[in-house]
């Protein structure tokens, strides 16, 4: 079924209630793969991080990565889930060239974590509770690159290249229960949920969850039902929606598309769909006429996972403060608005600012530098703020030099430039570049005398009581000292020498 005319979003929501289900895959940041000792580092030569097990060679066997289980339990606990006392892996049997064994070692009816929730904060501060069905452990597949086709998809390609470096990297799949009651805010809820989940995963230290790197991937299930109905409609599953903005757009698009099909008397086909970043649309993927039969059965090559209760409780005690709680605490401590906090969050600056404050800076200065000069530099270079070669301790030091009058903002920016260029610690940069403010009276005295001599008319005005005219002389001194003079002290000296009270 192709739809040319979408129903407007407002009209769609006037008639229908959206029901969402979000499935998020997170690649864990463990050093080794889920079932073998191969490295999980990104960016290596294709197929260089493989072994008999993750290549599925005949005879090879899996061994569970304990760090992967620990990460899964932490995620489960942070999502307020129950943790299984005993659970098994299962084989999910299906054929795909980038899956070495032609089954995925996953979990089926015995997930490690189940029955939880995540409270997400919408932009206006409202809290929406998303119920979690389950979180289970599995392994990632390899990566196919289809060569020769126009779109990079398999259709029309002449051949495919397979890289198994990703095969066997631990994944946690987190599945929500059907999300109802979000109404017109459904796309916003979807985005906020994924954003909150990402923050949570990062705060647990189990993954960097970088969506642009494929470390976190989202499938959006959506259906509509007439308002007041109690039976869900047929759903579509939009696969691999890989940015927060795309999650929101895909949800919104599918609401409008479903509404268009349903109001024109059509029926929704249960299918997977592809999301297109360029125009925000989705197109039909593979039709699921019947539920796919994965012939799940308990993985006989692995023994059951039975996490000791004492260990689970120990992990629970070690959980960090939840991101939303921490965010609200820091927002209050820093005294910033909800909106500003959102910007700080979006910039990935929360941890950096907090660390800078811990290193001695006051919160205003820490925010000013990270969200100003440094955000600008990161933006220019197209890197994450945290990837800039400057540490919170260095930022704190520069802020301290400004606070004690050794630097002004203009000089401080030059110090940042030096630090970012690898010229050393802030104090070394100040030293090497000779950036210290000149506040030494004897050094300034000469410059002030010269300025007075060269601007006799202005000096007279000041003597005559026009104190405001001192600004011009201060400017002249600053120019002569190439900006390195302490402007406040220069002004004092000028007034002193001209015998005027400031």
């Amino acid at each position: 079924m192709t739809v040319t005319e979408l129903v407007s979003y407002e009209d769609a929501l006037a008639t229908f209630e959206p029901v969402m289900g979000l499935e998020v895959h997170v690649e864990l940041g463990t050093k080794t793969k889920m079932f073998c000792g191969c490295s999980t580092a990104l960016g290596a030569e294709p197929n260089s991080q493989t072994c008999p097990t993750c290549l599925g060679l005949p005879g090879s066997l899996p061994v569970v990565n304990a760090a992967g289980v620990e990460s899964a339990i932490k995620i489960g606990l942070a999502l307020h889930c129950e943790i299984a006392e005993w659970c098994r892996f299962a084989r999910k049997n299906y054929f795909y060239p980038d899956m070495p064994k032609n089954f995925q070692t996953s979990q089926y009816d015995e997930p490690i974590a189940f029955n939880g929730y995540l409270d997400v904060q919408l932009e206006d501060g409202e809290i929406f509770r998303v119920e979690i069905e389950r979180a289970h452990m599995e392994e990632d597949t390899g990566k196919s690159t289809h060569v020769g086709g126009a779109t990079g998809r398999i259709h029309g390609a002449s051949h495919s290249l397979l890289d198994y470096n990703r095969a066997g990297i631990p994944l946690i799949e987190i599945v929500t229960k059907p999300i109802t009651g979000a109404g017109e805010r459904a796309p916003e809820v979807a985005k906020a949920y994924v954003a909150e989940l990402r923050e949570l995963i990062r705060s647990l230290g189990v993954s960097e969850a970088r969506m642009e790197m494929g470390q976190m991937r989202c499938d959006v299930n959506l259906s509509l039902m007439p308002k007041g109905a109690d039976r869900f409609g047929t759903r579509s599953e939009t696969k691999n929606v890989n940015s927060l903005r795309s999650v929101e757009r895909a949800t919104r698009y599918e609401i409008m598309r479903h509404a268009a099909v349903l109001t024109s008397g059509g029926t929704i086909v249960q299918e997977t769909r592809h999301f297109h970043e360029d125009d925000g649309s989705t197109t039909s993927g593979r039709i699921k006429e019947e539920a796919e039969d994965y012939r799940y059965f308990p993985e006989p090559d692995l023994v059951p996972v039975a996490p000791a209760r004492a260990w689970v409780e120990e992990l629970r005690k070690g959980l960090p403060e939840l991101p939303r709680v921490r965010r609200n605490r820091l927002r209050e401590e820093w005294g910033v608005s909800q909106h500003d906090m959102q910007s700080i969050l979006n910039a990935g600056a929360v941890d950096l600012i907090e660390a800078t404050i811990e290193a001695g800076a006051d919160s205003a200065a820490a925010r000013k530098w990270w969200m100003g000069e440094l955000a600008r530099r990161a933006n220019e270079e197209g890197v994450a703020l945290s990837a800039l070669p400057v540490t919170p301790a260095q930022v704190a030091r520069i802020a301290a030099l400004v606070a004690d009058g050794s630097l002004n903002d203009k000089l401080a920016r030059q110090v940042f430039e030096g630090v970012l260029a690898g010229e050393g610690e802030p104090d070394e940069v100040v030293e090497k570049r000779g950036l210290k403010l000149v506040s030494d009276d004897s050094a300034l005295g000469t410059a002030v005398d010269e300025a007075i001599a060269a601007n006799a008319a202005i000096a007279d005005k000041i003597r005559g009581g026009k104190v405001a005219a001192a600004g011009a002389l201060v400017g002249a001194v600053m120019k002569a000292t190439r900006g390195q003079a302490d402007a406040a002290r220069v002004r004092e000296l000028i007034l002193e020498k001209l015998g005027v009270e400031g």
Partner: protein, 497 residues
């Protein structure tokens, strides 16, 4: 040189250690024997002449340097072609792996090499270990050295035939439903299926993961024990490997006795389908055990009647998943890749050409049994039967120390006799399958020739899990008594090739 090939592994090891023989002499004698008879027997799929001689030279060099040698150093061994061997072909008896050279050694292969056991080559087997006659090998059948027109058992017919033909004093088998014990029985040799998890499965190409178990094959109980000790033990690469000390099997084999032991005879292990001569030799064995001081206890294990049915759901289910990886994309055979066909088409053509009929039959059976809607009725029910069988064994082992039975209902049948009748073929494993389903240990050893056909009959001894030493204690006592009665080992009666 004919003397060397008749020696037991224990004798060879001793003579090499004392300097009476060199490992190279021993290896050359066996390579010569293979050269002389294997054209007829076809026990080997691949003889690694160079590799074996290199290993033998290394053993001799070690000895000259005065280094300590292991208990089986320099003893030649025939390795079932299901274990990966780095740089040496591993086919699992299938066309689909023709030409594949594994880049890694199985843990078992590694342990053999570390113990300085000389690996002569890889032995023939039913494709993917599915079969009871070795006729399902894609590379042609193996003959039974007692009568080359008869099957040598299966799936490990190559290993048992190599022993019976004096091509090797030691061999390795794997036992999913009887593939070590049934070939041992029909060739007049000794074979042990250790407790599940006792021998690492890492590098053993999987047929049915929850049932597969590697184990030792030999011509004597002591030789089997010596080999058992080398290959058993915990392996961190196999999650199902038992993390416990290996039972004292060698000590048990050196101190055979059944005095005061309670020996169970299960009533389900006889009846229709059992050859008269097999039952006759079995009954004589029970009498012998009594004479040797054992107490015989009759046992009823009703669930054993369901074992074959449960096995033919569980094993095919697991195999349907285990064999999915053979798709022609990464290794082994690839058929029909002419540059126009899709990956799926090439995979289908590769499997069509690469898998034999029995493998296809079991993959289809298993795929069906695991399908949604049928899972509970088939796979689920079979797992319940499995639990019942374990309970029957548990109850039995409260009353007895070991159980004995015929290893197989009949002696070796003729090559070609059952190939068109899978059910008849499956019945060959009637007595061996319950042990695989329960995961405990069992041995087959010779107990005479059936009067009607003059072919070997096997006595099966079954012990509880992790009590593998009891097999050797009882086996050694029975072996000694029979050898004394016959005046020689049973294999001496086999015709010379």
């Amino acid at each position: 040189m004919t003397d060397i090939i008749k020696l037991t592994a224990a004798e060879i090891a001793e003579k090499i250690a004392s300097g009476e023989l060199t490992a190279v002499q021993v290896t050359e004698a066996h390579l010569a024997r293979i050269e002389a008879v294997d054209e007829k027997v076809h026990a080997f799929l691949h003889v690694d002449r160079e590799g074996a001689l290199a290993q033998a030279r290394e053993v001799d060099a070690k000895r000259e340097r005065g280094e300590k040698l292991g208990p089986l150093a320099g003893v030649p061994l025939a390795l079932k072609d299901i274990f990966t061997t780095k740089g040496v072909p591993t086919t699992v008896g299938s066309k689909i792996l023709e030409g594949w050279i594994p880049p890694y050694d199985a843990t078992l292969t590694r342990r053999l090499k570390d113990a300085d056991v000389v690996i002569l080559g890889k032995t023939n087997m039913d494709e993917f270990a599915m079969g009871s006659s070795t006729e399902n090998s894609a590379y042609g059948p193996t003959g039974n050295p007692w009568d080359l027109t008869k099957i040598p058992g299966g799936s490990g017919g190559g290993s048992s035939a190599a022993l019976a033909a004096y091509e090797a004093p030691l061999a390795i088998g794997t036992d999913t439903g009887g593939s070590i014990r049934q070939p041992a029985a029909v060739t007049g040799t000794v074979g042990v299926k250790p407790t599940y998890g006792a021998v690492s499965r890492y590098g053993m190409v999987a047929f049915s993961s929850s049932l597969d178990q590697g184990g030792p094959c030999a011509r004597t109980v002591l030789d089997a024990a010596l080999l058992h000790e080398v290959i058993a033990g915990h392996d961190p690469l196999d999650s199902t490997s038992v993390d416990a000390p290996v039972p004292p099997v060698v000590e048990a084999a050196r101190n055979g006795s059944v005095q005061g032991m309670r020996v169970g005879v299960v009533k389900q292990f006889r009846g229709e389908g059992y050859q008269a001569g097999v039952l006759q030799r079995f009954d004589e064995s029970v009498e012998l055990l009594k004479e040797l001081g054992a107490e015989i206890v009759e046992l009823d294990c009703p669930s054993f009647d369901l074992a074959l049915a449960a096995y033919y759901l569980i094993a095919p289910s697991e195999c349907s998943s285990n064999l999915a990886r053979f798709d022609g994309l990464r290794y082994g055979l690839r058929t029909g890749d002419d540059g126009t066909r899709s990956a799926e088409d090439v995979t289908a053509l590769t499997r069509e050409a690469g898998f034999g009929a029995e493998v296809k039959r079991r993959v289809m059976l298993g795929t069906y049994a695991l399908s949604s809607g049928y899972y509970d009725a088939y796979y689920g029910s079979a797992q319940k039967v499995r639990t019942l069988i374990s309970r029957d064994f548990d109850a039995a082992f409260e009353q007895v120390d070991v159980i004995v039975s015929p290893t197989t209902p009949t002696t070796a049948f003729a090559i070609g006799e059952r190939v068109d009748d899978p059910m008849a073929m499956y019945l060959a494993d009637l007595c061996t399958i319950p042990t695989n389903l329960a995961g405990n240990a069992a041995m087959s050893l010779p107990c005479g020739l059936a009067p009607e056909d003059g072919l070997p009959v096997g006595l099966q001894i079954i012990a509880p899990a992790m009590k593998d030493d009891r097999l050797y204690k009882v086996g050694a006592a029975v072996e000694a008594a029979f050898t004394e009665r016959w005046g020689h080992r049973l294999l001496e009666e086999a015709p010379s090739l």
